[in-house]
């Protein structure tokens, strides 16, 4: 049974007096743990989102979430203490007294926002006793480096796999996408910690230092892409939105809410003017990259979509996912086309042996690489759609593939924790290596 408030208050008051209650440090984690599974961005119950200060301050359908200085007049406290019905968390156990008291203390102290304005993401590099899954690989534009997403860090390897150059550890546990700027100076990584926060990291490649990190939503972000002109960064989110940032300032430019399920990948058009996003709602949406205004659906709805990649010089995209078939579409779909008209479909590539998780189009425009839950990468002739090579050697599914800038190499990695490099002209495996230093097994190869 809950303790009577009058009794509890003096009991807790002394220990709270020791430090000013902090939103960021104290209150936010409680809300995150206890409330955010319903009150989160995208489908927030009662219109209330508790995941950031600004969202909480905006309140919900029932009114303001708090009245600064007056905890017991605040709706949040009323619902937690069953003064207002239904008692929160709905259907779950009541919050422990100390947590309620922290929230009360914070509101009574003025409900101030102490969330840091600009964050960078740093942490200690991880120690590995076994290889983590590899969620992303990407070559630098000069072809010198191969960026690999490990556990809570990015590892920069020499492109031929001959050695580790540097490690870029951050707060996000998983980084699901990597993108270099055209000049190779900047590396953007999108990810986060599942069911906790999303993060976009911007790194100075040469200095191996973080420039900034943007935290957003309560889950990882997916399919981060950088506009070819370096102006914008787009990421897909688990709250069904696409967030677009100004790459220079890290300010959010706008947010797109036209998807109906998680958005898993994004790609900009050749001239950076437009943006395509794909997701679990099976849709590929084309928007104006300057404003976020919706233009057209690129595809006909089939299976859930996981990956999208663009032709290096034309506005043509290849997309794929659950249905296992990669579709090559013109990015533009004239407005006057009828709903079932599929004439902007350039071609279908072969059916894969498992759901598609990653796609890439070679910089020389000749090849399309397709991989996913099946342990093989299929290389197709982009011009004819014929299968050029089925690249073998993986022991399990593949999460990421990427072509080298000269299109001669393909790097692939996934569940088994190894990076494999292939010769795209012969289909032969050139090298395989574990990209993380292994504590128990004597470090990286």
């Amino acid at each position: 049974m809950r303790l009577p408030l009058l009794w509890a208050l003096p009991y807790f008051a002394p220990c709270l007096a020791a430090a000013e209650p902090s939103f960021y440090r104290d209150v936010r984690p409680i809300l995150q743990q206890q409330c955010a599974s319903c009150h989160r961005p995208g489908g927030a119950s009662s219109g209330l989102d508790v995941t950031t200060y600004s969202a909480l301050a905006a309140g919900g359908k029932r009114g303001a979430a708090f009245v600064a200085g007056q905890a017991d007049e605040s709706l949040t406290v009323k619902y937690l203490l069953a003064v207002a019905q239904p008692r929160m968390p709905l259907g779950g156990a009541a919050l422990p007294n100390d947590q309620v008291e922290l929230i009360r203390a914070w509101i009574n102290a003025g409900a101030k926002d102490d969330s840091p304005a600009v964050e960078t993401s740093t942490a200690k590099p991880a120690l590995y006793s076994q290889a983590p899954v590899i969620t992303a690989v990407r070559y630098s534009p000069d072809g010198q480096l191969l960026a690999v997403a490990g556990n809570g860090e990015i590892l920069l390897h020499r492109a031929d796999g001959s050695g580790l150059v540097s490690r870029l550890p951050g707060q996000a546990e998983r980084l699901l996408s990597l993108a270099f700027s055209r000049d190779g100076k900047i590396l953007v990584a999108g990810g986060g910690t599942p069911a906790r926060f999303g993060e976009v990291q911007v790194w100075d490649v040469a200095a191996a230092k973080p420039l900034r990190a943007m935290k957003l939503t309560t889950d990882t972000v997916f399919g981060a892409s950088l506009a070819p002109d370096g102006s914008r960064i787009a990421v897909g989110c688990a709250d069904n939105t696409v967030h677009v940032f100004d790459a220079k300032s890290g300010e959010e430019a706008y947010k797109i809410g036209n998807h109906e399920n998680w958005v898993l990948s994004t790609v900009f058009g050749v001239n950076s003017q437009r943006l395509v996003s794909v997701g679990r709602d099976r849709a590929a949406k084309l928007v104006d990259a300057a404003t976020g205004r919706f233009l057209e659906n690129v595809n006909l709805l089939r299976g859930e979509l996981t990956a999208v990649a663009r032709h290096p010089a034309k506005d043509i995209v290849v997309l794929g996912g659950e249905e296992r078939v990669p579709y090559v579409y013109l990015m533009d779909r004239p407005k006057n086309m009828k709903i079932a008209d599929d004439t902007t479909l350039v071609r279908k590539l072969g059916r894969q042996n498992g759901p598609i998780m990653t796609l890439d189009w070679s910089p020389d425009a000749q090849l399309i690489a397709v991989a996913g839950a099946a342990p093989e990468v299929n290389l197709y002739d982009a011009g004819t759609g014929e299968l050029r090579w089925a690249l073998k050697g993986h022991a399990a599914g593949i999460y990421s593939v990427t072509f080298s800038p000269d299109s001669k190499r393909l790097a692939a990695a996934g569940f088994d924790g190894q990076v494999r490099l292939y010769d795209t002209s012969t289909g032969q495996l050139v090298k395989a290596f574990i990209p993380v230093p292994m504590a128990a097994m004597g470090g990286a190869q």
Binding site: Q33, Q34, S129, W262, A373
Partner: protein, 724 residues
């Protein structure tokens, strides 16, 4: 298509103390037991909050691949296992819509932790997949309520190794108010006298434990009653064991009413009742003769034509008017000729041609799709519901999704095309492009029998043409060795006479729904087969038993029994029976539109006639599904209001050409009128008190109006609405 199984991809040296953990053997059972794969959670058809698992984990490989490949394996973290989402969520370290599933200090947590630390291996199907489960005890008989017993479940793996899995097994009682299961302690407690079945599940394997909680009351002495046939022997054997004393025979009048309604759907006429009561032949023989007489009546054929019309969904909604009449006549002729059951079922399954010239081919017009035909066929002729297995393996049976499509493949070659006459359709065997495909991966499913039947030749591995597919199916279905065909039919027929199957519901036979008296069901099945699928013989055997002829009155030992047929149970008349009984009792001739004069409710061709009237109110089946549950037999308020205030009864009793009018005009004395009205409605003579109050009422006002009132009152009594 299964694309990969991962086994120890990442070299990890296990310390000797740490046993290897695999998904198949260790992790999947936890996800099932913790409820992750349950229907309201991630086992839902669309998953939950973006994470989908197979329902109750029936497809461990799908689930494993979901963990590995959905969103790049976000739910485990091999580098830091403790940070894995699949540990943080169920322990509610972070918000989880499904709440707390297990705590951090549990073996579940440690097992999953170790599995991740070992690199998330799948395991070896040949080694880690459960081959069978064994339960202890295998049968429970508690001497009295209030006792408690521990249960034990052991899994056996293909290599013969075993391990105890009681904690991870799911244990449920089908009658918790008799035997209550406490999941946490894996015990069963006897709550009250009666019987229950425990269903134990573990990784797709099932076992059942019958539980009997005996009556602890002292002083039970078995008083044997005369046994009419083997049915009584087998029922008595069980009753004696359960310390239940059966009720004796019901009196003659009630017997005649009950058996007339059950066999012909009609009440006995007053003169028939009188003659039966006056007959001094020894009781058993007298009843047996009455049964034979009833089975020789045309109304007997009407009654069973209607029942089979329900099951075969004979309705103009699917068949058109002419088609319905044709199909109905085919059913009627088969039953009138007492064609062996297996013969006419084979005729249905193998039917082809014009729906007008070969009316049995209408079987394929009600369910025009191979899957729907398969579902109907298995439900009607095998008492088995396959429908769950269309989307996932059956949760309470061994049927798999593959079997659903393999069975459907027997019917995938059946084609329906328009005929030459209006409303005519032709059923034909398609020559090409009729492969049944699995929806998951479009693989062609070859026909395959659901269960083996000895003596039925094996199917060729492929290329069976459409005609041969159905022939093979028909032969297998109606084989004497088919363990479900004869048995399910016997059980279904039994339910028509007792209100309840030996397995109930009769069309949901499965391992988790065992018979209440297996010996009885087996003996009936054997007898049915020995008499060449003779439905009349089967019915005659059933209604001749003492069990069928028992009274509804109970004694101190069988008052609580609802399962062992130790006494009869009052059953509300079916819609058509009731309608016809009103006509018979009142003498008001039935008056349905679109059918010849004097057509009874039982004789109506399909539910189109008299739609939305009295019959539908009283639960006439709509013939839209093959489920026995379509016929409703409850008594509802709108029904009661209709009887009291509606026109059906009041108009019938006041019919100027009806029974009351004729009786009053006949000039017979009041006593004769009262007696006749009781016989016509309740099929029995009034008691002295009933007769006296009836006479007093008739004398108290205008005779015709008073007689109508009396009949109206009788028709509104429970004794009229029920068979007892």
């Amino acid at each position: 298509m299964k694309y990969l199984l991962v086994n120890s991809l990442v070299a990890v040296s296990l310390s000797a103390a740490e046993a290897p953990v695999t998904y198949l053997k260790d992790v999947a059972p936890i996800l099932n037991k913790a409820g992750c794969t349950s229907g309201p959670c991630h086992g839902a058809a669309k998953g939950k909050n973006g994470f989908k698992l197979s329902l109750r984990g029936y497809d461990p490989q799908f689930d494993y691949e979901a963990l590995l490949y959905d969103l790049s394996g976000r739910r485990f973290n091999r580098a830091e296992p403790g940070k894995s989402l699949m540990l943080a969520k169920p322990t509610q370290e972070i918000a989880h819509g499904g709440g707390l599933r297990f705590e951090k200090n549990t073996t579940y947590y440690k097992t999953i932790f170790n599995w991740i630390a070992q690199g998330v291996p799948y395991g070896d199907v040949a080694k880690d997949k459960v081959a069978s489960i064994q339960v202890e005890p295998t049968e429970i008989a508690m001497p009295k309520p209030g006792e408690k017993l521990a249960l034990k479940v052991t899994a056996t793996y293909p290599d013969g190794t075993t391990r105890e899995v009681t904690r991870e097994a799911t244990i449920e009682s089908n009658t918790p108010d008799v035997a209550r299961v406490d999941t946490a302690s894996a015990t069963v407690a006897g709550e009250r006298v009666g019987e229950a079945t425990l269903l134990l599940r573990y990784e797709g394997k099932y076992a059942t434990i019958p539980v009997a909680v005996l009556n602890p009351k002292p002083g039970f002495v078995w008083k044997p009653l005369a046994q009419h046939n083997y049915i009584d022997q087998l029922i008595d054997a069980k009753l004696q064991k359960m310390k239940i004393q059966p009720s004796p025979l019901v009196d003659d009048a009630a017997f005649l009413r009950r058996v007339s309604l059950d066999l012909t759907g009609q009440l006995p006429a007053p003169d028939e009742v009188r003659a039966f009561l006056a007959d001094n032949t020894p009781n058993k023989l007298k009843r047996s003769k009455a049964i034979d007489k009833l089975m020789a009546k045309p109304a007997y054929v009407d009654q069973w034509t209607m029942k089979w019309g329900d099951l075969l969904q004979s309705s103009r909604k699917f068949l058109g008017e002419k088609g319905t009449y044709g199909f109905r006549e085919w059913i009627r002729e088969s039953l009138a000729a007492n064609k062996p059951y297996d013969v006419w079922v084979r005729e249905l399954i193998n039917s082809s041609g014009s729906s007008y010239e070969s009316p049995e081919a209408n079987y394929y017009r009600t369910t025009r799709d191979a899957k729907a035909t398969m579902e109907k066929t298995t439900q009607v002729f095998m008492g088995t519901r396959m429908v769950c297995a269309q989307c996932h393996d059956h949760p309470f049976e061994k049927w798999t999704q593959n079997q659903y499509f393999e069975m459907s493949a027997f019917f995938s070659g059946v084609g329906v095309r328009p005929g030459y006459e209006v409303g005519e359709e032709i059923i034909y065997n398609q020559r090409s492009d009729f492969a049944m495909k699995h929806p998951k991966d479009n693989r062609v499913m070859e026909p395959k029998y659901l269960v083996a039947a000895a003596g039925v030749p094996p199917l060729p591995p492929h290329d069976l043409d459409a005609r041969k597919r159905r022939e093979a199916f028909a032969n297998w279905l109606t084989s004497r060795e088919n363990p479900m065909f004869a048995k399910s039919t016997v059980n279904r027929m039994w339910s028509y006479f007792f209100g309840k199957g030996i397995i109930d519901p009769v069309d949901d036979i499965r391992a988790s729904n065992p018979p209440v008296n297996a010996a009885l069901l087996d003996a009936l099945t054997k007898d049915f087969l020995a008499h060449n699928f003779d439905l009349r013989y089967l019915m005659r055997t059933i209604v001749n038993s003492r069990a069928y002829q028992a009274s509804i009155a109970t004694n101190e030992w069988n008052a609580g029994d609802t399962t062992n047929f130790s006494h009869a149970t009052p059953r509300r008349l079916g819609a058509e029976q009731l309608m016809d009984a009103v006509s018979q009792a009142t003498g008001a001739r039935p008056d349905f539109p679109e059918v010849p004069e004097d057509t009874t409710a039982t004789q109506l061709p399909d539910p189109h006639v008299g739609k939305e009237g009295f019959l539908d109110l009283f639960g006439r089946p709509t013939r839209e599904t093959a489920c026995e549950c379509e016929r409703r037999t409850e008594l509802s308020l709108p029904q009661a209001l209709n009887l009291v205030n509606g026109g059906t009864i009041s108009d019938a009793v006041a019919d100027p050409k009806g029974r009351v009018a004729k009786l009053v005009l006949s000039g017979r004395p009041d006593a004769a009128i009262v007696e006749e009205l009781y016989l016509a409605s309740l099929s029995r003579l009034p008691s002295k008190a009933e007769s006296d109050s009836g006479l007093a009422y008739l004398a108290g006002g205008p005779r015709a109006g008073r007689a109508q009132d009396l009949l109206w009152a009788l028709l509104n009594s429970k004794a009229f609405l029920y068979s007892w």
